[in-house]
Amino acid sequence: MNGAGAMMNEEALGWVIRTRDPEFADWEAFTAWLEADPARAPVYDALMAADAELAEIVPAEPVTIATPANDAGSRGWRPARWLAGGAVAAALVGAVSVGLLNRPDIYTVTTRPGETRSIALDDGTHVELNGGTTMRFDRHDARFAALDSGEAAFTVRHDAANPFRVTVGDAMLEDAGTVFNIVHTGGATRIGVSEGKVIYNPKAEAIPLPAGRGLSDDESGLRVMDIATDAVASWREGRLTYANAPVTQISADIARSLGVRLSATPGASAMRFTGTIRLDRDTVRFFGQAAPLMGLSAVRQGDGWLLKEGDGPPR
């Protein structure tokens, strides 16, 4: 394209952007620009058509604006940084985007793997997001949250008249004065309650989950089990506590909490573990301690780690 053509294209693009703005009002200036050269209208039309087609390749999804994550240094675990002020502060500081086109009051908060974030909702409820998590909140309804993927711990200010509700996949949880943790990855959901009570799917199964009870819902169905209350959301204190948990689940938790790429050999994946793993951002030190604890060994693989059967004491 020659210089004049490129210049016009650039100007036309400026008008595409301006006229696309919902607040645009200077149509007289736009008219004047078009009148100056009859070749401008077709260029504008073509660019507007190109703009319309962009929706095909840029679907709506949350955006992360980088905020300094906890250093992956050698100093062990640091608790989540608290962001005060709820919706507005989150919109200014965090990884926020509008999740639904027609609902400007719904916004999304996303953490990268290894990054944690706390959201204080206006009603006094706290939500702590573990790494690799996507959630939606409502600017105008502090009693709503949706966990789209990842893990989050909820400390809910109870209000019987206006219960706090969390949507997880197709399921819904309603609090009854509560501290609870949810993990939602792929099609599976794990819930643990450490204080108070939640109701799982109050309009369908209506399963009450008091403190010390947990629920898992995956391809093998819905199961309710006993759990240690201090194991619930223990990632916040830098611990992961398990009772007969599959290694696949544990490695997903580690990857999310530490922000590492982690895979497991089929043999290691088939194993289960009972016990507590201390999180440590020094991954060499972490795997050096955690892998033998699970009866596994960990080796570096590319930019991540591989868990395999081996060297540790059998259990």
Binding site: L13, D21, T31
Partner: protein, 170 residues
């Protein structure tokens, strides 16, 4: 009965006519204005905050529709001439696997292209183009100047339109 928007339409008819001519409507400008008038008369739109910009936008959208249907007609005729127009594809049919693969590759490519522009440019572009938020509001949200938002948008648009054009010629 000319009230509200209709009255504003009548009052600004010459300016709208001038706009449509400048937009390339030529002899059809009169007809397009007549279409607009009919639409305004049959719909009770209620009070509108900025009636004149609303009318201009309506006229601009008419022109965009006209352009789009002209392009579609052109493509159909071209397909026909190339012998591909014999059987109409069922629009409800699922997208073929390889097409879906191409689509997901393109989404990935677009995501990477947008990301490479930096987080602020990406956020500004998504807020503006995908979520329909105005530039002034975006500038306020991010605590940057309006000029910065404008520049970010120009940058993102240039990159994304160039990418789309490249994909279309592949």
């Amino acid at each position: 009965m000319a009230t509200g928007l209709s009255a504003i339409f009548l009052h600004n008819r010459p300016a709208l006519m001038r706009f449509l001519r400048a937009r390339g409507a030529g002899d059809e400008s009169e007809d397009l204005l007549q279409d607009m008038w009919m639409k305004l008369e049959e719909k009770d739109l209620g009070p509108i905050a900025d009636p004149l910009p609303y009318l201009y936008r309506m006229a601009n959208n008419l022109m965009l529709d006209r352009y789009r249907s002209a392009i579609r007609r052109e493509r159909r005729e071209q397909d026909w001439a190339e012998g591909a127009g014999g059987v109409m594809a069922d629009p409800s049919e699922d997208i073929a696997i390889d097409e879906r693969l191409i689509l997901s590759e393109r989404l990935e490519e677009a995501r990477a292209a947008l990301r490479s522009l930096g987080p602020r440019v990406e956020l500004v572009f998504r807020r503006f183009r995908i979520e329909g938020v105005g530039q002034r509001l975006i500038a306020e949200e991010l605590g940057v100047s309006l000029t910065t938002v404008e520049k970010d948008l120009q940058k993102a648009y240039r990159a994304m339109i160039a990418l789309k054009q490249k994909m279309d010629t592949e």
